[in-house]
Symmetry: C2
Subunit: 180 residues, 2 copies
Protein backbone atom coordinates (compact mmCIF):
# COMPACT_ATOMS: atom_id res chain seq x y z
CA UNK A 1 0.00 0.00 0.00
CA UNK A 2 2.98 2.36 0.08
CA UNK A 3 3.71 4.57 -2.85
CA UNK A 4 6.02 7.58 -3.00
CA UNK A 5 3.40 9.65 -4.81
CA UNK A 6 0.26 9.16 -2.78
CA UNK A 7 -1.10 8.01 0.55
CA UNK A 8 -4.85 8.12 1.08
CA UNK A 9 -6.89 5.42 -0.67
CA UNK A 10 -10.60 5.10 -1.27
CA UNK A 11 -13.12 2.59 -2.58
CA UNK A 12 -16.82 3.04 -3.30
CA UNK A 13 -19.04 0.00 -2.80
CA UNK A 14 -22.52 -0.65 -4.20
CA UNK A 15 -24.41 -3.68 -2.90
CA UNK A 16 -21.22 -5.30 -1.67
CA UNK A 17 -19.31 -4.75 -4.92
CA UNK A 18 -16.47 -2.27 -5.42
CA UNK A 19 -17.53 -0.03 -8.32
CA UNK A 20 -14.99 2.75 -7.88
CA UNK A 21 -11.58 3.33 -6.38
CA UNK A 22 -9.06 6.09 -6.19
CA UNK A 23 -5.91 7.23 -4.52
CA UNK A 24 -4.66 10.68 -3.70
CA UNK A 25 -3.09 11.99 -6.94
CA UNK A 26 -2.20 15.50 -5.77
CA UNK A 27 1.53 15.02 -6.18
CA UNK A 28 1.16 12.95 -9.33
CA UNK A 29 -1.13 15.41 -11.13
CA UNK A 30 0.12 18.56 -9.40
CA UNK A 31 -3.55 19.42 -8.86
CA UNK A 32 -4.26 20.03 -5.17
CA UNK A 33 -7.94 19.10 -5.56
CA UNK A 34 -7.33 15.54 -6.78
CA UNK A 35 -8.03 13.76 -3.50
CA UNK A 36 -8.75 10.02 -3.39
CA UNK A 37 -12.50 10.59 -3.02
CA UNK A 38 -12.71 12.83 -6.11
CA UNK A 39 -10.76 10.25 -8.12
CA UNK A 40 -13.12 7.44 -7.08
CA UNK A 41 -16.22 9.53 -7.83
CA UNK A 42 -14.93 10.45 -11.27
CA UNK A 43 -14.25 6.77 -11.99
CA UNK A 44 -17.89 5.98 -11.31
CA UNK A 45 -19.19 8.93 -13.32
CA UNK A 46 -16.98 8.29 -16.37
CA UNK A 47 -19.40 5.86 -18.08
CA UNK A 48 -22.24 8.36 -17.61
CA UNK A 49 -20.76 11.19 -19.65
CA UNK A 50 -22.87 12.17 -22.67
CA UNK A 51 -20.30 10.74 -25.10
CA UNK A 52 -20.40 7.35 -23.37
CA UNK A 53 -24.07 7.39 -22.46
CA UNK A 54 -25.95 9.72 -24.82
CA UNK A 55 -29.51 9.32 -23.62
CA UNK A 56 -30.62 11.96 -21.11
CA UNK A 57 -33.86 12.28 -19.20
CA UNK A 58 -33.62 9.70 -16.46
CA UNK A 59 -29.83 9.93 -16.00
CA UNK A 60 -29.92 12.29 -13.05
CA UNK A 61 -32.53 10.17 -11.30
CA UNK A 62 -30.41 7.04 -11.91
CA UNK A 63 -27.25 8.72 -10.58
CA UNK A 64 -29.05 10.03 -7.51
CA UNK A 65 -30.38 6.52 -6.86
CA UNK A 66 -26.94 4.99 -7.48
CA UNK A 67 -24.99 7.23 -5.09
CA UNK A 68 -27.81 6.85 -2.58
CA UNK A 69 -26.95 3.15 -2.43
CA UNK A 70 -23.18 3.58 -2.30
CA UNK A 71 -20.83 3.40 0.65
CA UNK A 72 -17.38 4.94 0.58
CA UNK A 73 -14.39 3.63 2.50
CA UNK A 74 -11.33 5.87 2.83
CA UNK A 75 -8.09 5.88 4.82
CA UNK A 76 -8.50 9.34 6.31
CA UNK A 77 -11.55 11.48 7.17
CA UNK A 78 -12.66 13.35 4.01
CA UNK A 79 -11.65 17.00 3.94
CA UNK A 80 -14.23 19.79 3.72
CA UNK A 81 -14.09 19.91 -0.09
CA UNK A 82 -14.56 16.16 -0.46
CA UNK A 83 -17.25 15.94 2.23
CA UNK A 84 -19.17 18.70 0.44
CA UNK A 85 -18.79 16.88 -2.88
CA UNK A 86 -20.08 13.64 -1.31
CA UNK A 87 -23.08 15.53 0.11
CA UNK A 88 -23.75 17.06 -3.31
CA UNK A 89 -23.68 13.63 -4.90
CA UNK A 90 -25.91 12.16 -2.18
CA UNK A 91 -23.62 9.35 -1.00
CA UNK A 92 -25.31 6.98 1.43
CA UNK A 93 -22.55 6.32 3.96
CA UNK A 94 -18.86 6.99 4.56
CA UNK A 95 -16.47 4.87 6.59
CA UNK A 96 -13.05 6.31 7.33
CA UNK A 97 -9.95 5.29 9.23
CA UNK A 98 -8.17 8.03 11.11
CA UNK A 99 -9.75 11.39 11.81
CA UNK A 100 -8.26 14.62 10.56
CA UNK A 101 -8.33 17.37 13.14
CA UNK A 102 -6.92 19.95 10.75
CA UNK A 103 -9.18 19.83 7.70
CA UNK A 104 -11.75 17.08 8.27
CA UNK A 105 -15.23 17.71 6.90
CA UNK A 106 -16.98 14.91 8.81
CA UNK A 107 -16.89 16.42 12.26
CA UNK A 108 -13.28 17.35 12.99
CA UNK A 109 -13.49 20.86 11.50
CA UNK A 110 -17.00 20.95 10.02
CA UNK A 111 -19.84 18.42 10.36
CA UNK A 112 -20.91 18.23 6.71
CA UNK A 113 -21.95 14.61 7.27
CA UNK A 114 -24.65 15.58 9.75
CA UNK A 115 -25.41 19.09 8.53
CA UNK A 116 -25.03 18.63 4.79
CA UNK A 117 -23.72 21.61 2.86
CA UNK A 118 -26.70 23.87 2.52
CA UNK A 119 -29.19 22.87 -0.09
CA UNK A 120 -26.70 21.33 -2.46
CA UNK A 121 -27.59 17.72 -1.74
CA UNK A 122 -29.83 17.79 -4.74
CA UNK A 123 -28.33 20.70 -6.57
CA UNK A 124 -25.09 22.36 -7.59
CA UNK A 125 -23.69 25.84 -7.93
CA UNK A 126 -26.28 27.77 -9.85
CA UNK A 127 -28.12 24.66 -10.98
CA UNK A 128 -31.25 24.62 -8.86
CA UNK A 129 -33.60 21.77 -9.59
CA UNK A 130 -36.28 23.20 -7.38
CA UNK A 131 -36.08 20.83 -4.42
CA UNK A 132 -32.75 21.85 -2.99
CA UNK A 133 -34.03 23.68 0.09
CA UNK A 134 -33.43 20.71 2.36
CA UNK A 135 -30.01 20.12 3.88
CA UNK A 136 -28.75 16.60 3.24
CA UNK A 137 -25.73 14.95 4.76
CA UNK A 138 -24.76 11.30 4.92
CA UNK A 139 -24.18 8.58 7.48
CA UNK A 140 -20.59 8.47 8.66
CA UNK A 141 -18.49 6.12 10.79
CA UNK A 142 -14.92 6.97 11.68
CA UNK A 143 -12.15 5.15 13.49
CA UNK A 144 -12.17 2.00 11.32
CA UNK A 145 -8.66 0.53 11.62
CA UNK A 146 -7.54 3.98 12.72
CA UNK A 147 -4.15 2.85 14.03
CA UNK A 148 -3.37 1.12 10.73
CA UNK A 149 -4.45 4.25 8.84
CA UNK A 150 -2.18 6.45 10.94
CA UNK A 151 0.70 4.01 10.42
CA UNK A 152 0.11 4.10 6.65
CA UNK A 153 0.17 7.89 6.54
CA UNK A 154 3.17 8.05 8.84
CA UNK A 155 5.01 5.70 6.52
CA UNK A 156 4.18 7.96 3.59
CA UNK A 157 5.40 11.10 5.31
CA UNK A 158 8.57 9.44 6.50
CA UNK A 159 9.47 8.74 2.90
CA UNK A 160 9.70 12.47 2.20
CA UNK A 161 8.23 14.11 -0.89
CA UNK A 162 10.49 14.08 -3.97
CA UNK A 163 8.31 16.79 -5.56
CA UNK A 164 8.48 19.24 -2.67
CA UNK A 165 10.41 22.42 -3.58
CA UNK A 166 12.08 22.47 -0.17
CA UNK A 167 11.57 19.03 1.38
CA UNK A 168 10.82 19.15 5.07
CA UNK A 169 12.16 15.64 5.48
CA UNK A 170 14.91 13.86 3.53
CA UNK A 171 13.64 11.71 0.67
CA UNK A 172 14.33 8.05 1.31
CA UNK A 173 15.21 5.55 -1.37
CA UNK A 174 12.11 3.48 -2.20
CA UNK A 175 11.93 -0.22 -1.50
CA UNK A 176 10.38 -1.51 -4.72
CA UNK A 177 8.86 -4.48 -2.88
CA UNK A 178 6.62 -2.05 -1.04
CA UNK A 179 5.54 0.05 -4.00
CA UNK A 180 2.25 -0.68 -5.81
Amino acid sequence: MQNPLNSSRCVIVENGKVIGSGSNRVNETRNATRHAEMEAVDMILAPWTPSECPEAGSIKEQLTKKFGECELYVTCEPCIMCAAALAILGIKKVYYGCGNDRFGGCGSILPLDTDGCGGCGNSSSGEDDGDSAKRRGFECVGGILADEGIALLRGFYEQGNPNAPRPHRPVRAQDSSLAD
Copy 2:
Protein backbone atom coordinates in the same frame (compact mmCIF):
# COMPACT_ATOMS: atom_id res chain seq x y z
CA MET B 1 -24.57 34.57 -21.77
CA GLN B 2 -27.57 32.26 -21.79
CA ASN B 3 -27.17 28.60 -22.48
CA PRO B 4 -29.65 25.81 -21.86
CA LEU B 5 -26.98 23.63 -20.25
CA ASN B 6 -25.32 25.92 -17.75
CA SER B 7 -25.65 29.15 -15.84
CA SER B 8 -22.81 30.17 -13.52
CA ARG B 9 -19.67 31.49 -15.20
CA CYS B 10 -16.20 32.11 -13.84
CA VAL B 11 -12.91 33.70 -14.87
CA ILE B 12 -9.56 33.66 -13.11
CA VAL B 13 -7.35 36.71 -13.59
CA GLU B 14 -3.61 37.02 -13.03
CA ASN B 15 -2.07 40.49 -13.19
CA GLY B 16 -5.02 41.84 -15.16
CA LYS B 17 -5.06 38.98 -17.68
CA VAL B 18 -7.66 36.24 -17.87
CA ILE B 19 -5.75 32.95 -17.60
CA GLY B 20 -8.66 30.62 -16.88
CA SER B 21 -12.39 30.43 -17.42
CA GLY B 22 -15.14 27.95 -16.84
CA SER B 23 -18.87 27.52 -16.82
CA ASN B 24 -21.04 25.19 -14.82
CA ARG B 25 -20.94 21.85 -16.70
CA VAL B 26 -23.00 19.77 -14.26
CA ASN B 27 -25.79 19.10 -16.72
CA GLU B 28 -23.43 18.75 -19.66
CA THR B 29 -21.10 16.25 -17.98
CA ARG B 30 -23.68 14.70 -15.62
CA ASN B 31 -21.09 15.17 -12.88
CA ALA B 32 -22.54 17.17 -9.99
CA THR B 33 -19.08 18.37 -8.91
CA ARG B 34 -18.21 20.16 -12.16
CA HIS B 35 -18.98 23.69 -11.02
CA ALA B 36 -17.67 26.71 -12.92
CA GLU B 37 -14.85 27.29 -10.43
CA MET B 38 -13.55 23.71 -10.70
CA GLU B 39 -13.60 23.97 -14.50
CA ALA B 40 -11.60 27.23 -14.44
CA VAL B 41 -9.07 25.83 -11.96
CA ASP B 42 -8.54 22.70 -14.05
CA MET B 43 -8.00 24.87 -17.15
CA ILE B 44 -5.15 26.65 -15.36
CA LEU B 45 -3.64 23.43 -14.01
CA ALA B 46 -3.77 21.54 -17.32
CA PRO B 47 -0.37 22.77 -18.60
CA TRP B 48 1.23 21.77 -15.29
CA THR B 49 0.47 18.06 -15.48
CA PRO B 50 3.58 15.87 -15.53
CA SER B 51 2.98 14.89 -19.16
CA GLU B 52 2.89 18.56 -20.23
CA CYS B 53 5.47 19.82 -17.78
CA PRO B 54 7.75 16.96 -16.72
CA GLU B 55 10.19 18.76 -14.42
CA ALA B 56 9.27 18.58 -10.73
CA GLY B 57 10.91 20.21 -7.75
CA SER B 58 9.83 23.83 -7.91
CA ILE B 59 6.41 23.17 -9.48
CA LYS B 60 4.50 23.28 -6.22
CA GLU B 61 6.17 26.50 -5.18
CA GLN B 62 5.36 28.02 -8.59
CA LEU B 63 1.71 26.96 -8.38
CA THR B 64 1.34 28.27 -4.85
CA LYS B 65 2.82 31.59 -5.98
CA LYS B 66 0.62 31.63 -9.10
CA PHE B 67 -2.70 31.05 -7.30
CA GLY B 68 -1.59 33.51 -4.62
CA GLU B 69 -1.60 36.20 -7.32
CA CYS B 70 -4.89 35.17 -8.92
CA GLU B 71 -8.33 36.69 -8.51
CA LEU B 72 -11.48 34.78 -9.37
CA TYR B 73 -14.69 36.36 -10.62
CA VAL B 74 -17.87 34.27 -10.60
CA THR B 75 -21.59 34.84 -11.10
CA CYS B 76 -22.73 33.28 -7.85
CA GLU B 77 -21.08 32.83 -4.44
CA PRO B 78 -18.91 29.68 -4.53
CA CYS B 79 -20.47 26.68 -2.79
CA ILE B 80 -18.78 24.99 0.17
CA MET B 81 -16.95 22.47 -2.04
CA CYS B 82 -15.60 25.15 -4.37
CA ALA B 83 -14.70 27.57 -1.56
CA ALA B 84 -12.75 24.75 0.13
CA ALA B 85 -10.98 23.95 -3.14
CA LEU B 86 -10.05 27.62 -3.61
CA ALA B 87 -8.68 27.72 -0.05
CA ILE B 88 -6.68 24.55 -0.72
CA LEU B 89 -5.21 26.13 -3.84
CA GLY B 90 -4.45 29.39 -2.03
CA ILE B 91 -6.39 31.76 -4.30
CA LYS B 92 -5.75 35.43 -3.51
CA LYS B 93 -9.20 36.94 -3.88
CA VAL B 94 -12.73 36.07 -4.99
CA TYR B 95 -15.33 38.44 -6.40
CA TYR B 96 -18.85 37.11 -6.83
CA GLY B 97 -22.20 38.44 -7.94
CA CYS B 98 -25.22 37.20 -6.05
CA GLY B 99 -24.94 35.45 -2.72
CA ASN B 100 -26.20 31.94 -2.19
CA ASP B 101 -28.03 31.51 1.07
CA ARG B 102 -28.50 27.77 0.59
CA PHE B 103 -25.03 26.42 -0.11
CA GLY B 104 -22.62 29.38 -0.17
CA GLY B 105 -19.15 28.75 1.22
CA CYS B 106 -18.11 32.41 1.47
CA GLY B 107 -20.27 33.45 4.38
CA SER B 108 -23.84 32.45 3.53
CA ILE B 109 -23.61 28.93 4.99
CA LEU B 110 -19.96 28.65 5.98
CA PRO B 111 -17.25 31.34 6.07
CA LEU B 112 -14.44 29.42 4.38
CA ASP B 113 -13.12 32.69 2.94
CA THR B 114 -12.35 34.09 6.39
CA ASP B 115 -11.79 30.84 8.29
CA GLY B 116 -10.08 28.74 5.63
CA CYS B 117 -10.78 25.04 5.74
CA GLY B 118 -8.59 23.73 8.49
CA GLY B 119 -4.97 23.35 7.65
CA CYS B 120 -5.49 22.53 4.01
CA GLY B 121 -4.41 25.90 2.67
CA ASN B 122 -1.02 24.41 1.99
CA SER B 123 -1.89 20.76 1.99
CA SER B 124 -4.42 18.21 0.82
CA SER B 125 -6.12 15.10 2.13
CA GLY B 126 -3.35 13.00 3.57
CA GLU B 127 -0.60 14.96 1.87
CA ASP B 128 0.93 16.98 4.65
CA ASP B 129 3.83 19.15 3.61
CA GLY B 130 4.67 20.04 7.15
CA ASP B 131 3.41 23.63 7.29
CA SER B 132 -0.32 23.02 7.08
CA ALA B 133 -1.18 23.85 10.67
CA LYS B 134 -2.29 27.37 9.86
CA ARG B 135 -5.81 28.07 8.62
CA ARG B 136 -5.79 30.06 5.40
CA GLY B 137 -8.77 31.62 3.66
CA PHE B 138 -8.89 34.27 0.95
CA GLU B 139 -10.14 37.79 0.43
CA CYS B 140 -13.70 37.89 -0.79
CA VAL B 141 -16.06 40.56 -2.13
CA GLY B 142 -19.68 39.75 -2.91
CA GLY B 143 -22.54 41.67 -4.43
CA ILE B 144 -20.76 42.68 -7.66
CA LEU B 145 -23.55 43.25 -10.25
CA ALA B 146 -25.74 41.13 -7.99
CA ASP B 147 -28.99 42.11 -9.69
CA GLU B 148 -27.59 41.15 -13.08
CA GLY B 149 -26.37 37.85 -11.65
CA ILE B 150 -29.78 37.06 -10.24
CA ALA B 151 -31.41 37.96 -13.56
CA LEU B 152 -28.99 35.64 -15.38
CA LEU B 153 -29.76 32.73 -13.07
CA ARG B 154 -33.47 33.44 -13.18
CA GLY B 155 -33.34 33.37 -16.98
CA PHE B 156 -31.59 29.99 -16.81
CA TYR B 157 -34.13 28.47 -14.48
CA GLU B 158 -37.05 29.81 -16.44
CA GLN B 159 -35.81 27.87 -19.46
CA GLY B 160 -36.40 24.61 -17.64
CA ASN B 161 -33.93 21.74 -17.64
CA PRO B 162 -34.21 19.37 -20.62
CA ASN B 163 -32.14 16.75 -18.72
CA ALA B 164 -34.29 16.71 -15.60
CA PRO B 165 -36.09 13.37 -15.12
CA ARG B 166 -39.23 15.14 -13.95
CA PRO B 167 -38.87 18.79 -14.96
CA HIS B 168 -40.17 21.23 -12.35
CA ARG B 169 -40.76 23.81 -15.03
CA PRO B 170 -41.69 23.37 -18.68
CA VAL B 171 -38.72 23.42 -21.06
CA ARG B 172 -38.86 26.42 -23.35
CA ALA B 173 -37.70 26.44 -26.96
CA GLN B 174 -34.26 28.07 -27.15
CA ASP B 175 -33.69 31.34 -28.95
CA SER B 176 -30.48 30.60 -30.87
CA SER B 177 -29.54 34.29 -30.84
CA LEU B 178 -29.09 34.03 -27.07
CA ALA B 179 -27.12 30.80 -26.96
CA ASP B 180 -23.30 30.85 -26.78
